[in-house]
């Protein structure tokens, strides 16, 4: 074994046998290429599960609002903070003749701002920040109009740890019941201190679940990202942590994986040395890398819910919130969210949002820039791999896939999606 593999090896056995209900058989990937499954999944999962639409910091003041065009025409919504500070969400549709109420220049584009009320651009109907109609122009011309009953249709909206969740169903379970004890522990984390946001979005021509699969296992890095690690692949394979250095946990419908990371650089003394065409020199110069800045901001003591797998040289915890959100909390005191929005069976929108403590000076800002760029360079490679996978799956020439122990979360994820769809269909049939 190499140095890093020696240092991080735990001698832990396999994880999958701890979850006998998941079995160890090959799995079908028809759930990623079937149009019929896609339609069922949208109804059973996306139209009735709590979905995160952003951080509360996007609503900084009473009167703040933003719109979201949830991909695949899932919904077009407005999220607001009313004058009492309460958060609301509603469908962006006028009660008069169905015009989109809140937009600027291009009806398809998202917008944000601050106001006391909304006015429809079509006939001037006005709406309070809770979505209710506050004024009808030429009201006397209508017939038996009950203005108090009119509004943009409400969307259930709840806030957890500063994350804004919406649910498109009529009678959702309360958000906190859905999240469950393990995810509720995230409330102890000071997300609110990390307001410096770097947000990215892209369309991927592949099923959204393939994208989730690609970042919940640690088998792919020496291959997909080999060049970052070492130009010689056989060396790259030996420079990643050993398989037993990672940690996995499943707590339906959510799940967790934890990852080791490199040690911090020693405190800054003297310089980075002579300039070189070498990323290690760049990392020393800016004191940052893929695993975060080396000068870590103080955010208070580390909450106990982190690194429950007791990984030495812990790098991050990735909490997978069913169905489409990963909250990655990094040892170096920043966090990233990954969100996956299906558009069609073979297309989705992938959002990466990185949040840091606001930098106090140029070198802290530059360290963040290097972390952000490193993350995106890696993510670009993952993205293209997903398109390659989807196009191959579509040929239907292989129908069963082999999953190793390192791919436990993939096994779990497809199982939970499949069970959720089956349960919904069984209920609908009754």
């Amino acid at each position: 074994m190499t140095n890093i593999q020696d240092r991080l090896s735990t001698g832990k056995g396999k994880f999958t046998p701890m979850y006998p209900e998941l079995g160890t058989d090959p799995v079908s990937y028809d759930d990623c290429i079937s149009e019929e499954f896609f339609r069922a999944e949208r109804e059973a999962v996306f139209e009735r599960t709590w979905l995160c639409v952003g951080r509360e910091e996007r609503l900084p003041r009473p009167g703040s609002y933003f719109t979201r065009e949830l991909p695949g025409k899932l919904a077009s919504i407005v999220v607001t903070r009313d004058l009492d500070g309460k958060v609301h969400a509603f469908h962006n549709v006028c009660a008069h003749r169905g015009n989109k109420v809140v937009w600027q220049e291009h009806p398809q584009d998202e917008t944000q701002g601050n106001c006391r009320e909304f006015a429809c651009k079509y006939h001037g109907w006005r709406y309070a920040l809770d979505g209710k109609v506050s004024h009808v122009t030429n009201e006397g011309e209508f017939f038996d109009l009950d203005v108090s009953s009119l509004g943009m249709p409400r969307v259930h909206c709840e806030v957890f740890a500063g994350f804004l969740f919406v649910n498109l169903s009529e009678h959702p379970v309360p958000l906190r019941d859905f999240l469950g004890d393990r995810i509720l522990e995230l409330e102890a984390y000071p997300f609110h201190l990390m307001t410096e946001r770097y947000g990215f979005s892209t369309r991927i021509h592949g099923n959204w679940k393939l994208a989730v699969d690609s970042v919940c296992e640690w088998y792919h890095p020496p291959y997909v990202h080999g060049r970052f690690i070492h130009p010689d692949q056989s060396k790259a394979e030996k420079m990643v942590p050993p398989v037993d250095a990672y940690h996995y946990d499943v707590f339906r419908p959510h799940m967790l994986t934890s990852v080791p990371g490199p040690p911090l650089l020693p405190p800054r003394e003297g310089g980075a040395g002579d300039a070189a065409q070498d990323m290690r020199w760049v990392y020393r110069l800016f004191r940052a890398g893929l695993f975060g800045p080396d000068d870590v901001p103080d955010i208070g003591p580390m909450p106990e819910f982190l690194n429950t797998g007791e990984i030495d040289s812990w790098g991050n915890d990735q909490f997978w919130l069913f169905p489409n959100l990963s909250i990655q909390i990094w040892a170096r005191n920043y966090f990233i969210t990954y969100t996956y929005w299906p558009e069609a069976v073979d297309s989705h929108i992938y959002e990466i949002d990185m949040y840091f403590v606001p930098p106090a000076n140029a070198h802290e800002r530059l360290a963040q820039e290097l972390v952000v760029d490193s993350t995106i360079e890696f993510a670009m490679q993952d993205v293209n791999t997903i398109e390659a996978t989807h196009s191959a799956l579509e040929t239907r020439r292989q129908r069963q896939f082999q999953l190793s122990d390192q791919e436990l979360l993939i096994r779990q994820f497809h199982r939970v999606i499949g069970d959720t769809v089956a349960a919904y269909e069984a209920e609908a049939a009754r």
């Binding site: 979005s201 060049r227 293209n384």
Partner: protein, 113 residues
């Protein structure tokens, strides 16, 4: 009274030839520049700024981030560009990430500075 605009802070005049291409305010513009250049041009820029980077960081650290004068802002943007080309120069030896095909990320939120 002088009316000429200082492109970069005193002591960094040698980097002024790179301002027009690389001192751009958004990551999208910087990334577009990366893709529009040959690897030799990226290496030339990297080799010019890398030996000055440490001094530039020390200079910029004297300011509050939201009070950077225009010439210091341009110097900061050159460092952002250096970071953006570093993987291309040091790892990929080409402007584009290998095997990334048409993959591209739009930046939907970024800090003002």
């Amino acid at each position: 009274m002088t009316t000429t605009t200082q492109l970069l802070p005193h002591g960094f005049e040698d980097l002024e030839p790179y301002v027009a291409d690389w001192a751009k305010p958004t990551r999208a513009e910087r990334y577009e520049t990366r893709l529009s250049k040959t690897i030799d041009e990226l290496v030339e820029f990297y080799d010019a700024i890398a030996p000055r980077a440490e001094e530039a960081i020390d200079y910029l650290d004297r300011f509050a981030l939201d009070e950077l004068p225009a010439d210091a802002t341009r110097l900061m943007q050159l460092l952002y560009s250096m970071i953006l080309v570093s993987y291309a120069v040091n790892i990929f030896k080409q402007p584009r990430i290998p095997d990334s095909g048409a993959a591209f990320f739009d930046m939907v939120a970024e800090p003002a500075v």
